[in-house]
Protein backbone atom coordinates (compact mmCIF):
# COMPACT_ATOMS: atom_id res chain seq x y z
CA UNK A 1 0.00 0.00 0.00
CA UNK A 2 2.91 2.35 0.77
CA UNK A 3 4.22 1.93 -2.75
CA UNK A 4 0.90 2.83 -4.38
CA UNK A 5 0.59 5.94 -2.22
CA UNK A 6 4.01 7.22 -3.26
CA UNK A 7 3.17 6.38 -6.89
CA UNK A 8 -0.10 8.31 -6.64
CA UNK A 9 1.68 11.37 -5.28
CA UNK A 10 4.31 11.25 -8.03
CA UNK A 11 1.60 10.77 -10.65
CA UNK A 12 -0.50 13.70 -9.41
CA UNK A 13 2.58 15.93 -9.24
CA UNK A 14 3.48 15.02 -12.82
CA UNK A 15 -0.04 15.80 -14.06
CA UNK A 16 -0.04 19.18 -12.30
CA UNK A 17 3.42 19.86 -13.73
CA UNK A 18 2.30 19.00 -17.27
CA UNK A 19 -0.83 21.16 -17.02
CA UNK A 20 1.24 24.07 -15.71
CA UNK A 21 3.76 23.69 -18.54
CA UNK A 22 0.88 23.90 -21.01
CA UNK A 23 -1.09 26.61 -19.23
CA UNK A 24 1.58 29.23 -18.49
CA UNK A 25 2.65 29.85 -22.12
CA UNK A 26 -1.01 29.95 -23.13
CA UNK A 27 -1.74 32.57 -20.49
CA UNK A 28 1.33 34.59 -21.48
CA UNK A 29 0.05 34.66 -25.05
CA UNK A 30 2.36 32.19 -26.79
CA UNK A 31 -0.53 31.18 -29.05
CA UNK A 32 -1.19 34.86 -29.93
CA UNK A 33 -4.42 36.53 -28.91
CA UNK A 34 -7.27 34.02 -28.58
CA UNK A 35 -9.56 34.42 -30.44
CA UNK A 36 -7.97 36.61 -33.11
CA UNK A 37 -9.61 40.03 -33.26
CA UNK A 38 -9.72 40.40 -37.04
CA UNK A 39 -10.29 37.85 -39.82
CA UNK A 40 -7.29 36.81 -41.85
CA UNK A 41 -7.40 37.49 -45.57
CA UNK A 42 -7.73 33.79 -46.45
CA UNK A 43 -10.81 33.49 -44.25
CA UNK A 44 -12.29 36.66 -45.78
CA UNK A 45 -11.75 35.19 -49.25
CA UNK A 46 -13.48 31.93 -48.40
CA UNK A 47 -16.39 33.70 -46.70
CA UNK A 48 -16.82 36.05 -49.66
CA UNK A 49 -16.66 33.38 -52.33
CA UNK A 50 -18.14 30.16 -50.91
CA UNK A 51 -21.80 31.03 -51.30
CA UNK A 52 -22.04 34.23 -53.29
CA UNK A 53 -24.88 34.09 -55.86
CA UNK A 54 -24.14 37.66 -57.00
CA UNK A 55 -20.55 36.90 -58.00
CA UNK A 56 -20.41 33.33 -59.25
CA UNK A 57 -16.83 33.36 -60.57
CA UNK A 58 -15.40 31.38 -57.63
CA UNK A 59 -18.48 30.19 -55.77
CA UNK A 60 -19.34 26.59 -54.83
CA UNK A 61 -23.12 26.95 -54.24
CA UNK A 62 -22.58 25.30 -50.83
CA UNK A 63 -23.53 27.40 -47.77
CA UNK A 64 -21.30 25.17 -45.60
CA UNK A 65 -17.85 26.71 -46.03
CA UNK A 66 -16.02 23.73 -44.52
CA UNK A 67 -17.59 21.27 -46.97
CA UNK A 68 -16.80 23.70 -49.79
CA UNK A 69 -13.14 23.88 -48.78
CA UNK A 70 -12.82 20.14 -48.18
CA UNK A 71 -14.46 18.93 -51.38
CA UNK A 72 -13.99 21.85 -53.75
CA UNK A 73 -11.21 24.33 -53.00
CA UNK A 74 -8.81 21.62 -51.82
CA UNK A 75 -10.67 18.63 -53.24
CA UNK A 76 -7.56 16.82 -54.48
CA UNK A 77 -6.23 16.74 -50.93
CA UNK A 78 -9.43 15.04 -49.75
CA UNK A 79 -9.23 12.62 -52.66
CA UNK A 80 -5.82 11.48 -51.46
CA UNK A 81 -7.10 11.23 -47.88
CA UNK A 82 -9.77 8.89 -49.22
CA UNK A 83 -7.06 6.90 -50.99
CA UNK A 84 -5.10 6.61 -47.73
CA UNK A 85 -8.20 5.36 -45.91
CA UNK A 86 -8.92 2.93 -48.76
CA UNK A 87 -5.38 1.52 -48.61
CA UNK A 88 -5.51 1.21 -44.82
CA UNK A 89 -8.66 -0.92 -45.03
CA UNK A 90 -7.14 -2.96 -47.88
CA UNK A 91 -4.10 -3.62 -45.67
CA UNK A 92 -6.31 -4.61 -42.71
CA UNK A 93 -8.28 -7.01 -44.91
CA UNK A 94 -5.08 -8.43 -46.43
CA UNK A 95 -3.97 -9.59 -42.97
CA UNK A 96 -7.07 -11.81 -42.84
CA UNK A 97 -6.89 -12.95 -46.48
CA UNK A 98 -7.14 -16.67 -45.57
CA UNK A 99 -10.63 -16.39 -44.11
CA UNK A 100 -12.22 -13.43 -45.93
CA UNK A 101 -15.82 -14.07 -46.90
CA UNK A 102 -16.04 -17.38 -45.03
CA UNK A 103 -18.99 -18.22 -42.81
CA UNK A 104 -18.29 -18.29 -39.11
CA UNK A 105 -18.27 -21.57 -37.20
CA UNK A 106 -19.96 -20.28 -34.05
CA UNK A 107 -23.76 -20.28 -33.98
CA UNK A 108 -24.43 -17.54 -31.43
CA UNK A 109 -27.90 -16.49 -30.36
CA UNK A 110 -27.09 -12.91 -29.43
CA UNK A 111 -28.53 -11.04 -26.50
CA UNK A 112 -32.09 -11.43 -25.21
CA UNK A 113 -35.22 -10.63 -27.23
CA UNK A 114 -35.86 -7.38 -25.34
CA UNK A 115 -32.43 -6.00 -26.19
CA UNK A 116 -32.73 -7.19 -29.79
CA UNK A 117 -36.04 -5.42 -30.40
CA UNK A 118 -34.90 -2.18 -28.73
CA UNK A 119 -31.70 -2.27 -30.78
CA UNK A 120 -33.65 -2.89 -33.99
CA UNK A 121 -35.65 0.29 -33.37
CA UNK A 122 -32.62 2.40 -32.50
CA UNK A 123 -30.59 1.06 -35.45
CA UNK A 124 -33.10 2.65 -37.80
CA UNK A 125 -32.60 5.94 -35.92
CA UNK A 126 -28.81 5.71 -36.21
CA UNK A 127 -29.03 5.02 -39.95
CA UNK A 128 -31.37 7.99 -40.43
CA UNK A 129 -29.01 10.31 -38.55
CA UNK A 130 -26.05 9.00 -40.52
CA UNK A 131 -27.67 9.45 -43.92
CA UNK A 132 -29.07 12.86 -42.95
CA UNK A 133 -25.52 13.92 -42.08
CA UNK A 134 -24.25 12.56 -45.39
CA UNK A 135 -26.95 14.04 -47.63
CA UNK A 136 -27.01 17.44 -45.87
CA UNK A 137 -23.23 17.75 -45.93
CA UNK A 138 -23.47 20.91 -48.05
CA UNK A 139 -25.91 22.56 -45.62
CA UNK A 140 -24.97 21.49 -42.09
CA UNK A 141 -21.74 20.53 -40.32
CA UNK A 142 -20.62 16.99 -41.09
CA UNK A 143 -20.41 15.32 -44.43
CA UNK A 144 -19.47 12.05 -46.05
CA UNK A 145 -16.89 10.75 -43.60
CA UNK A 146 -18.69 11.83 -40.46
CA UNK A 147 -22.08 10.54 -41.58
CA UNK A 148 -20.51 7.30 -42.77
CA UNK A 149 -18.86 6.80 -39.39
CA UNK A 150 -22.21 7.39 -37.65
CA UNK A 151 -24.03 4.94 -39.89
CA UNK A 152 -21.26 2.34 -39.53
CA UNK A 153 -22.09 2.14 -35.81
CA UNK A 154 -25.13 0.05 -36.83
CA UNK A 155 -22.93 -2.79 -38.05
CA UNK A 156 -21.00 -2.87 -34.76
CA UNK A 157 -24.24 -2.91 -32.75
CA UNK A 158 -25.78 -5.53 -35.03
CA UNK A 159 -22.84 -7.89 -34.62
CA UNK A 160 -22.71 -7.45 -30.83
CA UNK A 161 -26.46 -7.71 -30.21
CA UNK A 162 -27.66 -10.17 -32.87
CA UNK A 163 -24.41 -12.21 -32.88
CA UNK A 164 -22.20 -12.68 -35.94
CA UNK A 165 -24.68 -15.05 -37.51
CA UNK A 166 -26.75 -12.09 -38.76
CA UNK A 167 -23.95 -11.15 -41.17
CA UNK A 168 -23.80 -14.66 -42.61
CA UNK A 169 -27.59 -14.76 -42.95
CA UNK A 170 -28.11 -11.25 -44.34
CA UNK A 171 -27.73 -10.19 -47.94
CA UNK A 172 -24.87 -7.84 -47.09
CA UNK A 173 -22.23 -10.47 -47.70
CA UNK A 174 -18.51 -9.74 -47.90
CA UNK A 175 -18.54 -9.59 -51.69
CA UNK A 176 -21.49 -7.21 -51.89
CA UNK A 177 -20.00 -4.84 -49.32
CA UNK A 178 -16.77 -4.85 -51.31
CA UNK A 179 -18.72 -4.19 -54.50
CA UNK A 180 -20.60 -1.21 -52.98
CA UNK A 181 -17.34 0.21 -51.65
CA UNK A 182 -15.52 -0.07 -54.96
CA UNK A 183 -18.50 1.37 -56.83
CA UNK A 184 -18.53 4.35 -54.43
CA UNK A 185 -14.82 4.98 -54.97
CA UNK A 186 -15.28 4.74 -58.76
CA UNK A 187 -18.12 7.26 -58.31
CA UNK A 188 -15.78 9.72 -56.59
CA UNK A 189 -13.25 9.35 -59.40
CA UNK A 190 -15.96 9.76 -62.06
CA UNK A 191 -17.40 12.92 -60.49
CA UNK A 192 -13.86 14.33 -60.47
CA UNK A 193 -13.13 13.65 -64.15
CA UNK A 194 -16.59 14.16 -65.73
CA UNK A 195 -15.79 17.86 -66.43
CA UNK A 196 -12.74 16.98 -68.55
CA UNK A 197 -14.35 14.13 -70.55
CA UNK A 198 -15.14 16.32 -73.64
CA UNK A 199 -11.51 17.45 -73.69
CA UNK A 200 -10.30 13.84 -73.44
CA UNK A 201 -12.41 12.83 -76.42
CA UNK A 202 -10.94 15.38 -78.75
CA UNK A 203 -12.94 18.57 -78.16
CA UNK A 204 -9.88 20.72 -77.56
CA UNK A 205 -11.85 23.95 -77.46
CA UNK A 206 -13.62 22.79 -74.26
CA UNK A 207 -11.22 23.81 -71.48
CA UNK A 208 -12.11 22.63 -67.98
CA UNK A 209 -10.54 21.45 -64.74
CA UNK A 210 -10.34 18.19 -62.82
CA UNK A 211 -12.50 18.58 -59.68
CA UNK A 212 -14.40 21.43 -61.31
CA UNK A 213 -17.64 22.13 -59.46
CA UNK A 214 -19.34 25.33 -60.63
CA UNK A 215 -19.05 27.41 -63.77
CA UNK A 216 -15.64 29.00 -64.32
CA UNK A 217 -14.45 31.81 -66.56
CA UNK A 218 -13.18 29.49 -69.33
CA UNK A 219 -16.25 27.26 -69.76
CA UNK A 220 -19.90 26.81 -68.89
CA UNK A 221 -19.79 23.35 -67.25
CA UNK A 222 -21.53 23.20 -63.89
CA UNK A 223 -22.96 20.61 -61.51
CA UNK A 224 -26.55 21.29 -60.25
CA UNK A 225 -26.55 24.46 -58.17
CA UNK A 226 -30.00 24.72 -56.60
CA UNK A 227 -32.80 22.11 -56.72
CA UNK A 228 -36.21 23.60 -55.85
CA UNK A 229 -34.97 25.95 -53.10
CA UNK A 230 -32.16 23.87 -51.60
CA UNK A 231 -28.53 24.75 -52.44
CA UNK A 232 -27.07 21.47 -53.69
CA UNK A 233 -23.40 22.40 -53.53
CA UNK A 234 -22.88 21.00 -57.05
CA UNK A 235 -20.38 18.15 -56.96
CA UNK A 236 -20.04 18.41 -53.16
CA UNK A 237 -23.33 16.54 -52.68
CA UNK A 238 -22.16 13.68 -54.91
CA UNK A 239 -18.76 13.49 -53.24
CA UNK A 240 -20.42 13.36 -49.81
CA UNK A 241 -22.78 10.60 -50.93
CA UNK A 242 -20.05 8.39 -52.42
CA UNK A 243 -17.61 9.06 -49.58
CA UNK A 244 -20.33 8.19 -47.08
CA UNK A 245 -21.11 4.89 -48.82
CA UNK A 246 -17.40 4.06 -49.04
CA UNK A 247 -16.86 4.80 -45.34
CA UNK A 248 -19.91 2.80 -44.17
CA UNK A 249 -18.87 -0.26 -46.13
CA UNK A 250 -15.18 0.09 -45.24
CA UNK A 251 -15.85 0.27 -41.50
CA UNK A 252 -18.37 -2.58 -41.75
CA UNK A 253 -15.83 -4.76 -43.57
CA UNK A 254 -13.15 -4.04 -40.98
CA UNK A 255 -15.54 -4.79 -38.12
CA UNK A 256 -16.85 -7.99 -39.70
CA UNK A 257 -13.29 -9.23 -40.11
CA UNK A 258 -12.29 -8.30 -36.56
CA UNK A 259 -15.33 -10.09 -35.11
CA UNK A 260 -14.48 -13.53 -36.56
CA UNK A 261 -14.48 -16.23 -33.91
CA UNK A 262 -11.18 -17.37 -32.47
CA UNK A 263 -11.03 -20.71 -34.30
CA UNK A 264 -11.17 -18.98 -37.66
CA UNK A 265 -8.99 -15.97 -36.96
CA UNK A 266 -6.35 -18.20 -35.38
CA UNK A 267 -5.79 -19.67 -38.84
CA UNK A 268 -4.38 -16.40 -40.08
CA UNK A 269 -2.18 -15.92 -37.01
CA UNK A 270 -0.77 -19.44 -37.18
CA UNK A 271 -0.27 -19.14 -40.91
CA UNK A 272 3.41 -18.28 -40.84
CA UNK A 273 4.41 -21.10 -38.51
CA UNK A 274 2.56 -23.79 -40.42
CA UNK A 275 4.10 -22.52 -43.62
CA UNK A 276 1.57 -20.85 -45.87
Amino acid sequence: MKGTRARDIIFITLIIFAITILAIPTLLGALSSIPPIDLRTIAINYLNNTYNPFNQTLWTSSPEAVAAIVWDYRGLDTLFETVVFYSAIVAALALYREILGEKDILKGKGLSVIVQRATAVSMVGILVVGFATILHGQLTPGGGFQGGAIAAVTSVIAIVVFSRLIIDKSRLSYKRLLLIRNAALVGIALIAIIPIIPFMFGDHTFLSFIFQNQVKAVNSFSYPQIIVDVPMGGSIWFYNLFEGLAVITAFSLAIIVVFYSEELSRKTIEGGEIGF
Partner: protein, 130 residues
Amino acid sequence: MNMDVELINWIVIIIGQILITIGVFCDFVAALLMIRFPNFYIRLHALTIGSIGGAVVPAVGAALIAIGSPFLGTFRWFLAGGALVVALFIFILGGAGSHAIARATYRAKIVEYRPCYIDQLAEDIGEDGC
Protein backbone atom coordinates in the same frame (compact mmCIF):
# COMPACT_ATOMS: atom_id res chain seq x y z
CA MET B 1 -58.33 34.92 -29.71
CA ASN B 2 -54.87 36.27 -29.02
CA MET B 3 -55.45 36.05 -25.29
CA ASP B 4 -56.47 32.38 -25.62
CA VAL B 5 -53.28 31.48 -27.47
CA GLU B 6 -51.24 33.25 -24.82
CA LEU B 7 -53.08 31.39 -22.06
CA ILE B 8 -52.47 28.03 -23.75
CA ASN B 9 -48.78 28.92 -24.12
CA TRP B 10 -48.59 29.70 -20.41
CA ILE B 11 -50.27 26.42 -19.45
CA VAL B 12 -47.95 24.42 -21.73
CA ILE B 13 -44.88 26.16 -20.30
CA ILE B 14 -45.99 25.57 -16.71
CA ILE B 15 -46.62 21.87 -17.40
CA GLY B 16 -43.14 21.69 -18.94
CA GLN B 17 -41.58 23.34 -15.91
CA ILE B 18 -43.37 20.92 -13.60
CA LEU B 19 -41.99 17.99 -15.62
CA ILE B 20 -38.47 19.40 -15.39
CA THR B 21 -38.87 19.81 -11.63
CA ILE B 22 -39.93 16.17 -11.40
CA GLY B 23 -36.82 15.32 -13.41
CA VAL B 24 -34.55 17.22 -11.01
CA PHE B 25 -36.17 15.41 -8.08
CA CYS B 26 -35.73 12.02 -9.79
CA ASP B 27 -32.06 12.74 -10.54
CA PHE B 28 -31.45 13.73 -6.92
CA VAL B 29 -33.22 10.63 -5.62
CA ALA B 30 -31.32 8.42 -8.08
CA ALA B 31 -27.95 9.83 -6.99
CA LEU B 32 -28.87 9.36 -3.33
CA LEU B 33 -30.19 5.81 -3.75
CA MET B 34 -27.22 4.77 -5.87
CA ILE B 35 -25.16 5.14 -2.68
CA ARG B 36 -27.74 4.04 -0.13
CA PHE B 37 -29.21 0.89 -1.72
CA PRO B 38 -27.71 -2.36 -0.38
CA ASN B 39 -26.82 -4.47 -3.46
CA PHE B 40 -26.32 -4.39 -7.21
CA TYR B 41 -29.81 -5.35 -8.39
CA ILE B 42 -31.56 -2.78 -6.24
CA ARG B 43 -29.06 -0.13 -7.31
CA LEU B 44 -30.12 -0.94 -10.88
CA HIS B 45 -33.51 0.43 -9.89
CA ALA B 46 -31.83 3.71 -8.92
CA LEU B 47 -30.13 3.70 -12.32
CA THR B 48 -33.43 3.52 -14.17
CA ILE B 49 -34.93 6.23 -11.96
CA GLY B 50 -32.08 8.39 -13.23
CA SER B 51 -32.48 7.47 -16.88
CA ILE B 52 -36.28 7.46 -17.22
CA GLY B 53 -37.43 9.89 -14.53
CA GLY B 54 -34.35 12.06 -14.74
CA ALA B 55 -33.89 12.18 -18.52
CA VAL B 56 -37.07 11.26 -20.39
CA VAL B 57 -39.45 13.34 -18.27
CA PRO B 58 -37.37 16.58 -18.40
CA ALA B 59 -36.81 16.06 -22.15
CA VAL B 60 -40.59 16.03 -22.66
CA GLY B 61 -40.80 19.10 -20.40
CA ALA B 62 -38.18 20.90 -22.51
CA ALA B 63 -40.22 20.06 -25.62
CA LEU B 64 -43.34 21.57 -24.03
CA ILE B 65 -41.46 24.74 -23.00
CA ALA B 66 -40.15 25.10 -26.55
CA ILE B 67 -43.68 24.68 -27.97
CA GLY B 68 -45.02 27.38 -25.64
CA SER B 69 -42.38 29.97 -26.57
CA PRO B 70 -43.54 31.87 -29.69
CA PHE B 71 -40.55 34.25 -29.53
CA LEU B 72 -38.40 31.34 -30.81
CA GLY B 73 -40.28 31.52 -34.12
CA THR B 74 -40.45 28.44 -36.37
CA PHE B 75 -37.38 26.96 -34.69
CA ARG B 76 -39.40 26.01 -31.63
CA TRP B 77 -40.88 23.08 -33.57
CA PHE B 78 -37.38 21.83 -34.40
CA LEU B 79 -36.41 22.09 -30.71
CA ALA B 80 -39.57 20.32 -29.59
CA GLY B 81 -39.22 17.57 -32.20
CA GLY B 82 -35.59 16.97 -31.28
CA ALA B 83 -36.40 16.80 -27.58
CA LEU B 84 -39.28 14.37 -28.15
CA VAL B 85 -37.19 12.07 -30.36
CA VAL B 86 -34.42 12.08 -27.75
CA ALA B 87 -37.00 11.25 -25.06
CA LEU B 88 -38.38 8.37 -27.16
CA PHE B 89 -34.96 6.82 -27.76
CA ILE B 90 -33.89 7.15 -24.12
CA PHE B 91 -37.23 5.62 -23.11
CA ILE B 92 -36.64 2.59 -25.34
CA LEU B 93 -32.92 2.17 -24.69
CA GLY B 94 -32.89 2.95 -20.96
CA GLY B 95 -35.12 0.01 -20.17
CA ALA B 96 -33.42 -2.33 -22.60
CA GLY B 97 -29.97 -1.30 -21.36
CA SER B 98 -30.69 -1.89 -17.70
CA HIS B 99 -32.31 -5.22 -18.65
CA ALA B 100 -29.13 -6.22 -20.52
CA ILE B 101 -26.95 -5.25 -17.53
CA ALA B 102 -29.13 -7.19 -15.09
CA ARG B 103 -29.29 -10.26 -17.35
CA ALA B 104 -25.55 -10.36 -17.98
CA THR B 105 -24.80 -9.94 -14.29
CA TYR B 106 -27.26 -12.64 -13.27
CA ARG B 107 -25.98 -15.17 -15.79
CA ALA B 108 -22.33 -14.49 -15.01
CA LYS B 109 -23.09 -14.86 -11.25
CA ILE B 110 -20.48 -12.25 -10.37
CA VAL B 111 -22.59 -10.25 -7.92
CA GLU B 112 -23.19 -11.20 -4.32
CA TYR B 113 -26.98 -11.27 -3.92
CA ARG B 114 -27.63 -10.37 -0.30
CA PRO B 115 -30.00 -9.65 1.42
CA CYS B 116 -32.04 -12.01 -0.77
CA TYR B 117 -35.76 -12.38 -0.13
CA ILE B 118 -37.03 -13.93 -3.37
CA ASP B 119 -35.43 -15.10 -6.63
CA GLN B 120 -38.22 -16.02 -9.03
CA LEU B 121 -35.93 -16.31 -12.07
CA ALA B 122 -33.95 -19.09 -10.37
CA GLU B 123 -37.23 -20.88 -9.54
CA ASP B 124 -38.31 -20.61 -13.19
CA ILE B 125 -35.02 -22.06 -14.44
CA GLY B 126 -35.27 -24.82 -11.84
CA GLU B 127 -32.50 -23.82 -9.48
CA ASP B 128 -32.75 -23.04 -5.80
CA GLY B 129 -33.98 -19.53 -5.13
CA CYS B 130 -31.83 -17.55 -2.76
